[in-house]
Amino acid sequence: MTDTADKNFDANVDQKSKEAYFTAGQGQLIWTRFKKQRAAMIGALVLGMLIFSGLIAPFMTPYDPTIAGRDKAYLNGQPQVPKFWDENGFSARPFIYTYSRERSIKTNFRWITTIDRDARRYLTFLPKGDKYTFFGIKGETHLFGVDKGYVHLFGTDSTGKDIFSRTFYAINTSLAVGTIGVFIAFVMALMIGGVSGYYGGWVDSVLQMITDAVRTVPAIPLFMALAAFIPDTWSAEERFFFISMILGFIGWPTLARRVRTHLLTERNQEYVLAAQLCGASAGHVIRKHLLPSFTSYIIVDLIISFPYMVLSETALSFIGLGLKDPVNSLGVMLQNVTSADVLLNYQWYFIPVIFFITLVMAFVFVGDGLRDAADPYGDTKK
């Protein structure tokens, strides 16, 4: 009796899992395979955290990253590490010391920073600070701060701007540039790849020739040439959109090729013929029937191309042709580490570099994991 019940139950479970497998959409299948990869999952977690902290940068960081939020008394200051205890006793609330700067005849007219170990500054949570607008919401509450003066977890730069704040705003900017770039590349790729794949024949040949020609031009030198002609009078925002657009124009040929390949294999399927027989227009067939059949693959492609966008942005900004200093992007932050002075004396300028490398690595891991997961034959290969 119990035996048959068990068997029934087993068969049920089996049936159910089979049903789940066959009825699962591509997105679900990819997700199931993705979850099995540990490295990619860790990458996804790190990436999620970085993106989230980039998004909430105004709230998460204690100060305005521009010159408005600078700490005049602590230029090129080293990172301040919060402590719980020292020789003066234990404190449940983490604290930092008070730093003061002096330049007089006593210090031979050099700026000398002295640490006053007796004057503690206690960390406070959710204090009111610099004002910001955050998706249209005005706010002045920050995640943390100190009761007196300033706290600089990652130190400050030569003008006294808080590197911690700048880093997270920079992640925000670089991701935004990347997103716009990927979006433009994606739209162009869909149009060009879509037309070329759907019509095939000579349209395809001509478009492929053009795509190949564009792919042959070394993009960074070319766009450096264009970026150099940005007038100096442009505001930070204009520059920002221009750079994003440039990145989009760099990225489309690879994506267009993938879209075309997908379409070429899909367009001979029966459901396309059925739609055409019903009198659907080409645009309708592409949008309503063909594109949904490989949306998940396109998403995977987009994520794979994302780190290259971020890298190109940093490269352009790094040579001084991309974004410039009042804007905080990862490229601008990397540009700051280029002097020998920094390596010898101000090593904390390198902290954003670690974030940059982590961000790109996380993207690459997630992209790789997704590519493996999106490959329906991935399981059988290994």
Binding site: P221, A225, A228, F318, L334, L343, M361
Partner: protein, 334 residues
Amino acid sequence: MLQFLRFTLIRAALAIFTLVLVSFIVFSLMELVPGDCAERYLAFKSSQGSVITLADIDIERVRLGLDRPYLERWIKWIFNAFQGEFGDSCILRLNIAELLGQKVWLSIGISLASLVLAYSIAIPVGIIAATSRNPFLNNSLRLVSYMGLALPNFLLALMIMLFSTVMFGNSLTGLFSKEFRDAAWSYDKVIDFLQHVWLPVFILGWSATAFAIQTVRALMSDEIGKLYVTAASARGVSGRRLLMRYPARHALTPIINSLGFDLNRIFNELPIVALILTLTEAGSLLIEALARSNDQQLAGAIIFFLTAAIVGINFLTDIILALTDPRVRRSILG
């Protein structure tokens, strides 16, 4: 033989067509840029103290032929470009072909050397990564090749440079020592050059190697599970002999095809590394031409040269493939 000749001719025609198309893109972009050569030159003159009127600009335009229709100027430009003649630079007023001279060859040479370096590391390492079952080795190789992607070349260049400055007091920058910079080529100069050139080659090769390892590994692990490999091992071929004679040969063919695009990627990184290492080749000249003087003639010429190099490589690899693989010869346009 006749088939091969036909293939070569058609490929050559296609390559020239691509170059013409590219030249059109580059030329148009240079036209779209605000301001033209006449304005720039006279703006420069006016900053030197001469008084410039609108009429002067028009006269200068006629002198430079900028008043001609767009298409005519493009055709003229492309004809001259194929003869290696690019006119004068907008600001420097020097002949561009002379100005670039050996710099272009040096840049292309450095890039090709890094490409060779990348593949001579990547092919054996990629094959090992694809075939070994050692998870530690696999994962560490994977991590290293990811590092190649995530650690940008310019950062690596900077770190090596600063490190050597601090440790050895030698900044390793430039391509020649001071005394050889303007000297004619001689044995000593070549030795001096080789002492300097390894660093840019290594840095450019770094991320190229990372890319190449991933490609080789992916292609190899696709090929290795195929039936002909199993059949060969059933016949008693094993070890390195099996890998080299069967899957590796198939896996490496697509790589020859993609060499041109690898070169493209290296060209993308060249100007940035050149800037940090203060190399005096076309890459850094490009930055100079762009960042300082908005010189569209010079920029256009440099980009044309770089693209021509890539198209040339693509053409060469096609020919090599056709020589080794009869299937390629037959599929002329496919």
